[in-house]
């Protein structure tokens, strides 16, 4: 299963970006093979609706879940419709966030 994490910069430092739509990089983690890939987020430059554009990419990447700091209401709604689970985390690193996800410590965000 593919899970996407939102990362700062080009993602190589392993630092999470709290933002979803305007995070520069998505880290795509494959939970079966433990593989990780980095993908640039093309929505960063949208004047408006960055979160929605990013949601589209998440689904196009074939992810089943997203781990990020905060996800706007519109994007949350869209991801919910697409069957992607959204988890919010306060962790600053990918490693911590992944560990929390494995332990079941992350809160699932749902549209109101």
């Amino acid at each position: 299963m593919k899970i996407v994490f939102t990362m700062q910069g080009d993602g190589r430092d392993g630092l999470m970006d709290r933002r979803f739509g305007r995070a520069e990089t998505f880290l795509v983690y494959n939970s079966e093979t433990d593989e990780r890939g980095l993908v640039a987020n093309s929505a960063v430059d949208a004047a408006m609706g960055a979160g929605l554009k990013a949601a589209e990419s998440i689904v196009a990447l074939g992810a089943v879940a997203l781990v990020t700091g905060e996800c706007g209401v519109k994007a949350l709604h869209a991801l919910h419709r697409a069957g992607v689970k959204v988890y919010s985390t306060d962790s600053t690193t990918f490693a911590d966030a992944l560990e929390d996800l494995r332990q079941g410590n992350l809160r699932e965000a749902r549209p109101a």
Binding site: G49, A50, A55, K74, A78
Partner: protein, 278 residues
């Protein structure tokens, strides 16, 4: 005759100048509150609402049984109001500008247009003058159609537009069609900086305009120097007076709470009229 009262930022006393001028102009005047995101002229001009009209915009609705999921509409929409996960797109009205492009490009004829309410235009009989107020619904991000509708609802011979703050689309939409613009500013570096930006927009639009200095201090020549240099006329100065701030805080008109100021507002109004007829 249409006069717009504008200022670069909020808090310069623009609304205060607009309502006081409208009251001085009298019963036949109409004030249009074009600050539809935060209309507050009604705080000063109370009265009964005589009519309310809904303002709406055409937005797309997707007929899912006709949609082939081709994404043509999604690719077209530059505002990211449509997104698709493969099937029929999802529509996010907050982001839609109502351009109608998605319907034009859809090869399957799967998009129709429906009306989305954006806000209201209310007519208020305030006794001393008429108030037309545009009010944007909370959560709606397109003020321009509501501004246009509010302006269209003002039918009197003498109309004052209370413009929204800022220098972007809402201001431009308000100023269009005005015969004269009164810029309200403060004699501070902040005030001057915002005034400059607004003047740039007005010049780009080829509008006639003049300046009113609010909270004016005799000792301060900042705005005068700028206006002199730019050949902009100063039509009046409202002095720094704590009683004015207090009247404003209490929701009272200056010309009623402090009648000594009536001649000042009358002279500003007359100066505007002269410039328009000249």
């Amino acid at each position: 005759m249409r006069i717009a009262v504008a200022s670069g930022k909020g808090g310069t006393g623009k609304t205060s100048v607009a309502v006081n001028l409208a009251v001085i102009a009298g019963r036949t005047a109409t004030l249009v509150d074009c600050d539809v995101e935060e209309p507050n002229a009604h705080i000063f001009l109370k009265g009964d609402v005589s009519s309310t009209d809904t303002v709406s915009m055409s937005v797309p609705a997707i007929e899912e049984n006709r949609c082939t999921g081709c994404r043509a509409c999604v690719e077209f929409c530059g505002f990211n109001a449509l997104i698709s996960f493969g099937g029929p797109p999802l529509f996010f009205p907050d982001l839609c500008h109502g351009c109608g492009g998605c319907r034009l490009v859809c090869p399957a004829g799967a998009i129709v247009e429906v009306a989305r309410p954006l806000g209201e235009v209310r007519r208020i009989d305030a006794g001393r003058c008429t108030l037309v107020e545009g009010c944007l619904e909370v959560g709606v991000s397109s003020p321009v159609p509501v501004i246009k509708a509010a302006k269209a609802a003002a039918d009197g011979d003498f109309v004052i537009y209370d413009a929204p703050p800022g220098t972007s689309c809402p201001l431009v939409a308000t100023l269009r069609g005005a015969d004269y613009v009164l810029l309200v500013t403060e004699p501070t570096p902040f005030g001057l900086s915002d005034l400059r930006l607004t003047v740039e927009v007005l010049r780009q639009m080829n509008m006639e305009f003049g300046v009113v200095i609010n909270r004016s201090m005799r000792s301060e020549s900042l705005i005068h120097d700028y206006c002199h240099h730019e050949a902009i006329e100063v039509l009046g100065e409202i002095p720094e007076d704590r009683r004015i701030a207090e009247a404003y805080a209490a929701g009272r008109l200056i010309v009623e709470a402090l009648p000594g100021y009536r001649p000042l507002f009358r002279s500003i109004l007359e100066a505007c009229l002269e410039r328009v007829t000249a």
